[in-house]
Subunit: 212 residues, 8 copies
Amino acid sequence: LRTGIPEVIYGASKTVEQIITIARAMLKRASPVLVTRVDPQKAAKILCSCPELEYHEPAGLLCANKADVRMQKTRGKALVVCAGTSDIRVAEEARLTLELFGHPVGSLYDIGVAGLHRLFYRQQLLHEASVIIVVAGMEGALPSVVAGLARAPVIAVPTSVGYGASLGGIAALLGMLNSCAPGVAVVNIDNGFGAACMAHAINCDYSDDAPQ
Amino acid sequence: LRTGIPEVIYGASKTVEQIITIARAMLKRASPVLVTRVDPQKAAKILCSCPELEYHEPAGLLCANKADVRMQKTRGKALVVCAGTSDIRVAEEARLTLELFGHPVGSLYDIGVAGLHRLFYRQQLLHEASVIIVVAGMEGALPSVVAGLARAPVIAVPTSVGYGASLGGIAALLGMLNSCAPGVAVVNIDNGFGAACMAHAINCDYSDDAPQ
Amino acid sequence: LRTGIPEVIYGASKTVEQIITIARAMLKRASPVLVTRVDPQKAAKILCSCPELEYHEPAGLLCANKADVRMQKTRGKALVVCAGTSDIRVAEEARLTLELFGHPVGSLYDIGVAGLHRLFYRQQLLHEASVIIVVAGMEGALPSVVAGLARAPVIAVPTSVGYGASLGGIAALLGMLNSCAPGVAVVNIDNGFGAACMAHAINCDYSDDAPQ
Amino acid sequence: LRTGIPEVIYGASKTVEQIITIARAMLKRASPVLVTRVDPQKAAKILCSCPELEYHEPAGLLCANKADVRMQKTRGKALVVCAGTSDIRVAEEARLTLELFGHPVGSLYDIGVAGLHRLFYRQQLLHEASVIIVVAGMEGALPSVVAGLARAPVIAVPTSVGYGASLGGIAALLGMLNSCAPGVAVVNIDNGFGAACMAHAINCDYSDDAPQ
Amino acid sequence: LRTGIPEVIYGASKTVEQIITIARAMLKRASPVLVTRVDPQKAAKILCSCPELEYHEPAGLLCANKADVRMQKTRGKALVVCAGTSDIRVAEEARLTLELFGHPVGSLYDIGVAGLHRLFYRQQLLHEASVIIVVAGMEGALPSVVAGLARAPVIAVPTSVGYGASLGGIAALLGMLNSCAPGVAVVNIDNGFGAACMAHAINCDYSDDAPQ
Amino acid sequence: LRTGIPEVIYGASKTVEQIITIARAMLKRASPVLVTRVDPQKAAKILCSCPELEYHEPAGLLCANKADVRMQKTRGKALVVCAGTSDIRVAEEARLTLELFGHPVGSLYDIGVAGLHRLFYRQQLLHEASVIIVVAGMEGALPSVVAGLARAPVIAVPTSVGYGASLGGIAALLGMLNSCAPGVAVVNIDNGFGAACMAHAINCDYSDDAPQ
Amino acid sequence: LRTGIPEVIYGASKTVEQIITIARAMLKRASPVLVTRVDPQKAAKILCSCPELEYHEPAGLLCANKADVRMQKTRGKALVVCAGTSDIRVAEEARLTLELFGHPVGSLYDIGVAGLHRLFYRQQLLHEASVIIVVAGMEGALPSVVAGLARAPVIAVPTSVGYGASLGGIAALLGMLNSCAPGVAVVNIDNGFGAACMAHAINCDYSDDAPQ
Amino acid sequence: LRTGIPEVIYGASKTVEQIITIARAMLKRASPVLVTRVDPQKAAKILCSCPELEYHEPAGLLCANKADVRMQKTRGKALVVCAGTSDIRVAEEARLTLELFGHPVGSLYDIGVAGLHRLFYRQQLLHEASVIIVVAGMEGALPSVVAGLARAPVIAVPTSVGYGASLGGIAALLGMLNSCAPGVAVVNIDNGFGAACMAHAINCDYSDDAPQ
Ligand SMILES: Nc1ncnc2c1ncn2[C@@H]1O[C@H](COP(=O)(O)O)[C@@H](O)[C@H]1O
Ligand SMILES: Nc1ncnc2c1ncn2[C@@H]1O[C@H](COP(=O)(O)O)[C@@H](O)[C@H]1O
Ligand SMILES: Nc1ncnc2c1ncn2[C@@H]1O[C@H](COP(=O)(O)O)[C@@H](O)[C@H]1O
Ligand SMILES: Nc1ncnc2c1ncn2[C@@H]1O[C@H](COP(=O)(O)O)[C@@H](O)[C@H]1O
Ligand SMILES: [Mg+2]
Ligand SMILES: [Mg+2]
Ligand SMILES: [Mg+2]
Ligand SMILES: [Mg+2]
Ligand SMILES: [Mg+2]
Ligand SMILES: [Mg+2]
Ligand SMILES: [Mg+2]
Ligand SMILES: [Mg+2]
């Protein structure tokens, strides 16, 4: 595949019927399947028709044929960091997608800006990562703090968690873009999938490839 | 004075002539004078007519009769924290105003989110403060971090430093409002003076007063 | 506890199951429990499993072990002011949280900018308060008016009440930030809890403490 | 004239030459002339060519032939209220325009929300007015307060005074639109001229007219 | 009553129980009752307990004791204009409120900017009105066009009708504020009630009153 | 040329030197030259080096070799309509560009929404046009009105004229997008050039062409 | 009909009853009927009473008497292009409306910016079109790309597909307005109907008409 | 250095004196110097005092001691792509910064969305890059197109080029965040320096390092 990322179905704007049709075609070809943004109601209906699919509820993902994912030669282990319980669904979308793309991934889900001691005790994890995804809504400062501690590139994912002046994630997004910690870039609000794609592009090791 | 804050002149939207007229009247009454938002050009002209005034360039303040400020009974020492060189002018507006209102004030001006080690070494300063003003533009996360380390109330001042997605300080403002570190409240962008007023209201000790 | 505020659970983005799990753990430790942003449906289900919890409907709070709250030495009595019936839920979130944090709190819930006579008759209440929380949506001017009458610090809470140009509370928020009455700082839209945390930080009296 | 308002020239987007040409034509016809939004530099150049014009600097208006304004039969005396020195230029644009349109106009320029006592002592002025224009930037609450005290219709004019979260007058505008004091309507930011036009339409007394 | 407008209940943010309690108290005093923003479901429940109330579905209003409204001496007949079917609910809120306040009101509900011929044929109606309310969403230009044809003051009400770039009525609001037709002022989006209050303040004739 | 539009230089973000270099190269090839967004100062300097260029001040355009423009076979005469003096510079940018692209163009520059009589007397001009460009800032309703009277496609150009709630042309832009008069499409604020390109694409008559 | 477009009913803000009443009147006159923005639930109810109507679910359109549409003399074949499955409903609204207005229409629904090879293989389709409608949400760049390849005028329709920073279609709208590919104009977000009206105005061939 | 990026001075908000002081200190230590955002006037003054510095005008950078930059072991050659002349200054800021950080960098500066043929002919360059920075303002779609052709990670930099609906770069920023081409992340508007930092973090090859 040209851009190095397997075909993924965006489930949010598709009906149950549309998803079943596409998934069946892919299952028939025995290719790995990934459908994003599937809520539990939709998932239940789809699973009736496609029992080969596996549903990851917190991440809203439907997958199949993970075993057939071609193992990547990677640069190292990716790390997904998030702050509060509310950000976990986006962090899991990122983590599981990266796994499906063939990368080893760790996670660190209990880190808040107002309690940085815990982050300090875990610095080793940050240092060992080859790429870091930081997911944060009300704790919009987390990516800056992480980027200040690690040399790996940081992909920041703002989330739509919060209320009032959070403006559906815009506040976190703007904060992350203004960060003056170097080595941070940002993807769309709640876009755990997009962060995983960027991390995949960074973490693939093509050094043994014949020139493209 | 009813609300406990001496009269202050907002210089930004006044002409040199208007400021001179008002300042002279106050000087005649020998009352303390404070004019905010005076740029160096304006200040130079005003000082010709009112040599009793003293100009603080980085803060953009004109003052007189500081000696006549009635010393407050205060709850303790206030602290002004800021991150970068660009935020200093707002921090100084806050610090000098508080001083003129009769409070002891310390400052900590070299603190960035991407280099938190320095903040950790200075935690004692945070613990000793009775009220803390945190001024930050591109480092919008700083008030959350400080509030997570101190028990004193934190007044956050977003600044209009930065470009692009900083939106003239709106990004920092929104980030500070969304912070989930408890014990933070926010004033207008660049409003060092307003932060000082709030800090004054918090730090005054009226415990010996006869009931108002 | 480091920052002086007991652990509080943000209920809005948690499932009934998640809240029950966390609450049970805290109840077992016999520590005070406070869960914010719980709607009546959720509350009913949680109460079945955790009958020790008490639900305050207008405030959307679940509490337990209030008796075990360590009584604070405080600087005085806090006051919560709001304008219309629609703002009461946020005012109550603030008032009950402050109570749970161990502060004496009064309230004044019938005050509108278009009928200031009533406020004038109650000025004594404003003068006696050591800290004032003002909650307002369509009456965004209320904090300015209150701050003009009282010397205590004012924490303004914009609410998302209103329609059209209220922009979900943004209009009230901006108005409060622009206010030129000194001694006002602002928290996020609808954030009664955050206002209570700030009031707690202000109203605690640590004067007898050994240095931190 | 069809809509009852004499022709007025909007000076802001016209060159000195364009204004001179139009003004001369009107002066030749001996009709009343009003040019709005003329800054002092432009005015000085125009006055060289058209010495019949009179310049009102704080209002930015050029006028001529005021004596020829047909006196209106009016419903009473209009009142222009504003808060701070910075709002005066807009208040004066409104006041002088109304005068040129043939209405008696009073003014009250020292009224702030944080010092409402003064407003209370002047209530009689509010009660006697047949229409009230309230000009306010940082004191965006003023129109609500005035409308709560008077039965006359209130035209609110937000101004672009302020900084940061004032958003060039948008904060004041939104606040005025959300006001729940009845009997208020709003015109564009800084539009003293538009407020005068609305006040003129309200204050004209056509009761003796033959049907239009 | 001080500001000349009878007490009105804002129904949107009140429960059925709250509305019944307040309405009953007012009915007992036999004073006129007006509840705004009541949807049909809520209305049905309230009518069970308060059969004296009358429901106007398109306007969302509950009224009683209209007969007891003190007839105003008015300056003339008010006129409510709107463009499309979708704007009628707001226009009716304005029209019925004004009637309840004791004013004669006409209406013109089939006027669109893209078909101005109809408006031209009805110009007589515009000329006879003493005050005009123009309600418009997708046809945001209508108030300008009406104000260009009539000498009466025009109160513009933007509506939240439309999609996409209508931004929930903000587009219409901004357009109305920028209009350069003189004699227009604006109230909040969908605020038919507020427009009626302003029209009431304008249209009352106090010329026979003893001084206030 | 592939898309049918001759090469045009965007002058705004280029230095005098850059423009001279590019223009000279084109002049050497004797091809038609069009440089947009050139202010008078820049133009004066460029004309010193490239006297073959002709400057149209109100439109901000530099042109040469107009005689060599290949005459288009067109569908008819284009028409450019605008409201106030302030919109003329954008209208002229559109008109001159279209002329340079080889189209016959008429103009109608004295049309305001508040004085529609004039437009009605000129309807014949609208009916004869094959494509209409309507340029408007404070009169944002003009394109709707024109589109309601003509069957030709209308290209609306919002302008950044105005102040306050005009938001630099955003108000006009949103109004035009919401218009429910059919047959209108919109280009960027102040983009007279873009409107001319669209009009060119519409007005070219390729009916005699061999298939592309 | 004056502006050349048959009467169309905007279904979104009308009740089932209102639509039935209007549709019946039109059916009685045997004129072509088009109702836009009808969701499946509403459609089912309307079809019970008006079985003559035909429902196009993906487009949300109800039509009747298509056979009676007066065949236009057109300039050629229109083309509707869109990127993803999620944009198809808007593309279909445009395509079916244009057909009902009497134009031949082709479509190209599988084109994405990240896979431009497919577009390149279909360039012939673009070259043959007399007008092109491009519908895009997350692929906001598509209209620029198409306009760079074709000489026909391009009408861009942003859609509200996407999440987070898509801001309900505002991101796509802004991107399309800023495009520097010449020959593009834009209609409101999701306004497939409006795009069809513009395409109709462009594609009608009136060359044989007697002058209007 | 902890995060792998040498110290860099942000020149925009510093005075000439401040920059000279800091630069001298660094020059004394003989460490590499990089000052960003220095306009030509400032640069001229600084160069008088610090002739060791070298000024890159289009990029606004001052550098010294480039020879002392420790050569990185890198993963390959970085590539900077941009569309128009106006975006070059940001592209150069990125390119020169990356070079100073020790990376080999190529550039491709003549690529526009409306003329994709040129990009297609240069695909080889995209394929060979180990990380790609794409700088674009009015051509906001460029990063999507590039990411669709290359497997390397793409860092998108929106620029503030353009007018009207470009909103100072916000339009480009939002478009880039919504892109559905996988493998793109975004930095702040005009932040060529930030893009270089991210590219540096990605392109460093630490595979031979002892564990951190
Ligand atoms: N959660 C997601 N967020 C953003 N893009 C996605 C997501 N899931 C899939 N995609 C992208 O959406 C495109 C597929 O869209 P579709 O053809 O509508 O299924 C592919 O480019 C995917 O890479
Ligand atoms: N209503 C509330 N608004 C804002 N923050 C809250 C609220 N309730 C609890 N919190 C904070 O949310 C954090 C707990 O988040 P969580 O771990 O998701 O329960 C703590 O920092 C609380 O102080
Ligand atoms: N300061 C002002 N603000 C808004 N509109 C104005 C102002 N001054 C004049 N006008 C209006 O501008 C129009 C005159 O515009 P012009 O022909 O360009 O001078 C008339 O409709 C005036 O009512
Ligand atoms: N989907 C649509 N989007 C925008 N305008 C529409 C739509 N459908 C119909 N219209 C227009 O709405 C008007 C009819 O509105 P109404 O009288 O409320 O049915 C006509 O001008 C139609 O051209
Ligand atoms: Mg780092
Ligand atoms: Mg704290
Ligand atoms: Mg006070
Ligand atoms: Mg009143
Ligand atoms: Mg009028
Ligand atoms: Mg038309
Ligand atoms: Mg083209
Ligand atoms: Mg790629």
